[in-house]
Amino acid sequence: MKTKYIILFFLVGLLALNACKEDDKSDPTEEVKFPEITSMTATKSVVEFGGKDPTVISCEATGGNLSYTWYVDLGDLIPVSEDKSVIQYTASDCCIGDKMIFCEVENNLGSVTDTISIFIQIP
């Protein structure tokens, strides 16, 4: 009989732990909608090559439960914010010229992509 109570206690405990488990970091009151990029901005649109003069690019989006994926053909994108909505971009001298940076925002309803152009120049 005692064993039954112990098992029951563990099952209830397990259920309680599971109920408290954080499954996502989104606002529970926020309604999930198809993602939409509201703005994509950079602190500088012209950057000197070499890594000491990065531009910080932000992608603001709505829709809830969002994940961000960035892409550029050449150069280095380094995430700044934990949710990856803000990144730094630098490049070496092999990337002089216009570079198109893509940001894809996705949730379970779909995805949307926006771009921003950054010019890499000689100091």
Binding site: D73, L74, L77, T90, C94, I96, G97
Partner: protein
């Protein structure tokens, strides 16, 4: 008996070349390696090898000058599987696939590190032995290769799809043509040369096209048989890469360049024909293209490789007879000199090719070749055949020319190893 003089020469070569080493850059695609081997496989023979290559890079260069700038440091651990099959006596087909276990880049300025792993390029190669003169120990081969990017084009790390020059796979196909030659000098030394040209197709992305520079490689080297299955190999390899061209017209002046490597290698072949080779690719001179006030190019410090290979003389074993069938056959034996598993395979295969021989076995300890037959076998003809291939028998001695043409690990005469 180990040739200690040879070991000392090897040590000095390694120490000398390592002492003057600097660095060189890594680039998209499988790393380049040449082992200088031009000898093809025998018909039906099958070779398999596994390679590990590790590289580290942390220095930037303007031309041949090291500069005081570090944007990023890089490192990779690369493996590849190589399978070779002898189609005929002169043609061999080779398949190769590369896998980056880990490619990483560290950005000291941002205290950030990123990684990638995955399949690199696969290649299919056709080797043709154009000239083969075993008596002169000379061989010349032509090699055509097609490289295919089999890995994923968009490997992602930390919310970022990695740039094209850091992806494990190049994202473009490549074609190369090469020639390799080898020439034996005496019983323990051989020289080899290798030259190749590789054309690289453009990578097309949604916003641009990038054509990485074509690559020319030339290598010269020497292989010295130290003894007891140990060989030392020293190679100098020159690599030249053309500049990258973006969108068909924009030449990137700060890409491409040339590097001269010294590649000391030591290898060991055991009696079962397994070979293990260790080598260092040490850059001794480089010229990395650059622009004034530019960041320069990242050059790698050195690469380290381990290769394990095994050759199986034939995939198609002769028909085996049942115990009952063998029992009723006549048996005979004679002395055949040899030393290793490769000798054993060769001697037994030669015996099996002889008319009326139904079964053959050579004992590595007693050096006795036992063979079974139903109808009479011409033993003297069989001995002549063994001697012609380089193996002394109890009545006929192999000529020096035939003996010298044997593979390095098959040299059984003790005087040649002194």
């Amino acid at each position: 008996m180990i040739n200690y003089k040879g070991l000392i020469v090897l040590f000095l070569l390694i120490a000398g070349s390592y002492g003057i080493s600097y660095a060189q850059c890594c680039s998209a695609g499988n790393p380049i390696s040449t082992d200088g081997g031009s000898a093809g496989l025998q018909k039906g023979a099958f070779g398999i090898s596994v390679l590990y290559k590790g590289s580290t890079s942390d220095t930037y260069y303007h031309g041949s000058k090291e500069i005081d700038f570090v944007n990023k440091e890089s490192l990779f651990h690369f493996t590849s599987l190589n399978i070779e099959y002898g189609l005929t006596q002169r043609w061999a087909l080779v398949g190769n696939i590369g896998y980056f276990v880990r490619k990483s880049e560290v950005f000291p300025e941002f205290d950030y590190e990123r990684y990638a792993s995955g399949l690199g390029d696969a290649s299919i190669q056709l080797k043709h032995q154009l000239i083969s003169q075993p008596t002169h120990k000379f061989a010349l081969s032509l090699i055509g290769t097609v490289k295919i990017p089999v890995g994923a084009k968009e490997v992602e790390y930390d919310g970022v799809i990695l740039p094209i020059d850091f992806q494990p796979s190049t994202g473009s196909s490549r074609y190369s043509i090469a020639t390799a030659l080898s020439k034996g000098i005496g019983s323990d030394l051989s020289l080899f040369g290798y030259a190749s040209y590789e054309y690289i197709n453009a990578i097309e992305t949604s916003s641009a096209t990038y054509k990485y520079g074509d690559i020319v490689v030339g290598a010269l080297g020497a292989n010295y048989r130290v003894g007891n299955g140990i060989s030392a190999n020293l190679q100098s390899r020159y690599e030249w890469r053309d500049k990258r061209v973006d969108n068909e017209t924009e030449v990137r002046e700060s890409t491409g360049g040339s590097v001269l490597y010294m590649v000391p290698q030591i290898s060991y072949t055991n009696k079962s024909a397994y070979n293990v080779a260790l080598s260092f690719d040490v850059p001794v001179y480089r010229y990395m293209n650059f622009i004034e006030n530019g960041t320069g190019q990242l050059g790698n410090k050195f690469m380290f490789s381990i290769k394990v290979s095994k050759t199986i003389n034939s995939l198609f074993e002769p028909k085996t007879l049942s115990f009952d069938e063998l029992e009723v056959l006549n048996e005979s034996q004679f002395f055949v000199d040899g030393i290793c598993a490769m000798c054993k395979e060769r001697i037994e295969q030669l015996a099996m090719k002889q008319k009326n021989v139904k079964w053959a076995e050579w004992n590595m300890e007693t050096k006795q070749l036992k063979y079974k037959f139903k109808d009479e076998v011409d033993a003297e003809k069989l001995m002549k055949l063994m001697a012609k291939t380089g193996h002394d028998t109890e009545k006929i001695k192999a000529s020096d020319q035939a003996y010298n043409a044997l593979h390095g690990c098959c040299k059984y005469r003790s005087e040649s190893k002194e």
